[in-house]
């Protein structure tokens, strides 16, 4: 692929699609991990996997509008942007993962992604790439807000239950 403005934007969007697909896979794995251990946590991860797939589908739609159908997925993205991960290696031993922590795990991943795209937007001088990164950053911003709302909802429910 030549480094024309259209191509760099296209590559950035494609990378975004693949990251969403990879993360959906990671959330699937976490869903299975907590199934039968803590089903409420597993449900949160299942929802996150489904959201990642929706995000991926949305990015694919945008890609399709501009460049036609995206190529079949190739290599896994090398970057660790937005890759969600368990914070605590002993979470399963000490049963320390609850719904709130699962949401925070997702939130942190989305915040990292947003920061990554913001940094890349500031760093690049290529206007087309800047546009693509800005668009991806805004996209992540909506995910951040969504998860923040879920967390606030959860905390609110917990507070009222405590009262």
């Amino acid at each position: 692929m030549n480094a024309t403005p259209a191509n760099v934007g296209r590559a950035a969007l494609l990378r975004g699609i693949r990251i969403e697909a990879r993360n959906a896979g990671i959330y699937d794995s976490l869903t299975h991990l907590f199934q039968g251990y803590d089903d409420s946590v597993a449900t949160i991860f299942r929802e996150m996997a489904s959201e990642e797939r929706q995000h991926g589908a949305e990015l694919e739609r945008r890609y399709g509008e501009r460049f036609g159908p995206p190529p079949s997925p190739g290599e896994e993205p090398k970057e660790v942007i937005e890759a969600p991960d368990l914070d605590d290696p002993e979470a399963m031993i000490f049963d320390s993962m609850d719904v709130e922590q699962a949401l925070q795990l997702g939130l942190r991943a989305e915040e990292n992604a947003r920061e990554f795209y913001r940094r890349e937007t500031a760093r690049t001088s290529d206007p087309e790439l800047q546009k693509a990164y800005r668009e991806l950053g805004e996209f992540e911003e909506t995910h951040v807000r969504l998860l923040q709302e879920k967390l606030a909802e959860r905390r609110g429910a917990k507070d009222s239950a405590a009262r």
């Binding site: 990879r22 990671i26 199934q35 039968g36 991960d85 914070d87 290696p89 399963m92 000490f94």
Partner: protein, 485 residues
């Protein structure tokens, strides 16, 4: 990070907080990786131990009831104990758990296989397990049971280390409990939460000079399968429920090497590292109390078995002296010291540390948990110092019992009549003192290291270290008094 004086120019140098070196053993010796990747590896290392345990049970049931003539007493409580505390833990982390036969039957039933892997969909894993696979109760998901279990066994140690039948009964019960729990609960519930030996292994494994870790944490971050904890067609889901991607301490890694087999990215390796330097984070009250209990038991054992006070020995040895009041006093005193008095003294030292450092913004809980690390190397080295004379004074029994394991008058290797000859008993204090001082050194060093993570102002840091360091020095002096009089 907290500073009492925000305009203080001096700060703790950040380079001092760099992680210590580590050396990748699998990269250096690929044969070692090939060995642990063999599906039969763990079975092959457990098998001889299983045979030994069988022999121990037989010797307890049919052999002589005289402790120092029976292999279960001599091999377990002299040889095994010394090897475990002085060699296996400091140099091999939880390598004992690799070869421990106690969970063997539970694993076998759960997996319906000794060597091969079964793929399937037991909840949370990519493997097929037999049994109810239930979740262990949340309120018991800690090491409190192990703390109380070990303290209980320690209270009856005089019986345990002198009566073959009592030792066999305890091992039999542990085998049974491990197997039943494996049928009901998922994975190694017994090892994680119940086994009294596992409790102190987890604590002292923090000091070990080896660690099993991921080579590149980013690989784990990107990993979709999380095969280390979920299992795969190459390896069983981590029996200990540990996720390798973030593993940063040895405590709950039982070195079964299943993750080395299952990792799709070939990203797990065994590393050598400096002693008592890498894992310095104590995470919960259960771990703090474990550190307190172990240190106090090292002290009370030293009083009972090495000290000149025959009365205390009689109190502990209730089966011979029949002094039930004395035994009650000993049991209550030991429990009070381990569970209340010593943790209380440590708490007071933490309150004093906060006051002296003027560290009002540091939560007492944080300081209480983090500074407790100083008790870990100190406790381990105190146990080693206590165990040295056991081997030097009673080691000759190992040679004679090897030839006559059941005390029936056999002479398998021609050493049955080897006389009881203590090995250079006059050297004992000269070995105990440096061992103890090494524990003090690593305890203080660990305290300083942990403190640097909390305080950025050196003056505040040093003030905060004084009271807990004074406690540690006080403990060392008590041990020195016991060892050298």
């Amino acid at each position: 990070m907290v500073t009492a004086n925000p305009i203080a120019e001096a700060t703790v140098p950040t380079e001092a907080l760099e992680p210590p070196w580590r050396f990748n053993l699998f990269a250096r010796w690929p044969w070692l990786k090939r060995l642990v990747r063999m599906r039969s590896f763990q079975f092959l290392v457990i098998l001889p131990n299983l045979f030994m345990f069988y022999l121990f049970i037989i010797s307890a049931l049919f052999g002589t009831p005289v402790g120092n003539r029976n292999i279960i007493i001599v091999f377990v409580w002299i040889l095994w104990w010394f090897m475990l505390i002085a060699v296996l833990v400091p140099f091999g982390s939880r390598i004992w758990c690799t070869i421990c036969p106690l969970p063997f039957f539970g694993d076998w039933i759960q997996r319906r296989a000794v060597i091969r892997v079964r793929t399937g969909k037991s909840p949370g894993t990519e493997n097929s397990f037999f049994g109810l696979h239930k979740r262990w109760p949340k309120r018991l998901s800690n090491i409190w049971l192990q703390n109380f279990g070990f303290l209980f066994l320690a209270t009856f140690s005089a019986l345990l280390v002198t009566r073959p039948i009592v030792s066999a009964a305890v091992f039999g019960i542990l085998f049974l409990v491990a197997t039943v729990l494996a049928l009901v609960f998922r994975l190694r519930t017994f090892c994680n939460y119940v086994c009294p030996i596992s409790g102190f292994l987890s604590l002292y494994a923090m000091t070990a000079t080896v660690e099993l870790r991921s080579v590149d944490k980013d690989e784990c971050l990107k990993c979709k399968s999380k095969a280390c904890i979920r299992g795969s067609d190459k390896g069983w889901a981590c029996p200990w429920n540990v996720y390798m991607g973030k593993l940063d301490r040895n405590n709950y890694c039982g070195l079964c090497f299943e993750c080395v087999k299952s990792c799709p990215n070939d990203n797990i390796s065994l590393f050598v590292r400096p002693f008592a330097t890498s894992d310095v984070v104590v995470r919960g009250y259960d771990e703090v109390w474990k550190a307190c209990i172990m240190l106090v038991l090292a002290l009370t054992y030293s009083v009972m078995l090495l000290g000149p006070w025959g009365r205390f020995k009689d109190w502990a040895n209730v089966s011979e002296a029949r002094n039930w009041a004395g035994f009650g006093l000993f049991a209550a005193g030991q429990a009070l010291l381990a569970l209340v008095i010593f943790p209380g003294l440590y708490y007071v030292s933490i309150r004093l540390a906060k006051w002296y450092a003027r560290a009002d913004s540091v939560p007492t809980k944080e300081l209480f948990l983090k500074y407790a690390y100083m008790l870990v190397p100190m406790g381990l080295l105190a146990w080693i110092a206590f165990s040295v004379p056991l081997l030097m004074v009673n080691g000759a029994y190992i040679i004679s019992v090897a030839s006559d394991p059941l005390g029936w008058g056999m002479n398998l290797f021609g050493t049955a009549d080897f006389p009881w000859t203590p090995l250079r008993p006059h050297w004992v204090p000269f070995l105990q003192v440096p061992i103890l001082l090494t524990g003090l050194y690593y305890g203080l060093r660990g305290l300083h290291k942990v403190g640097r993570r909390i305080f950025t102002d050196p003056a505040q840091l040093h003030r905060s270290l004084v009271p807990p360091a004074a406690l540690l020095v006080g403990v060392t002096l008590v041990f020195l008094k016991l060892f050298i009089g």
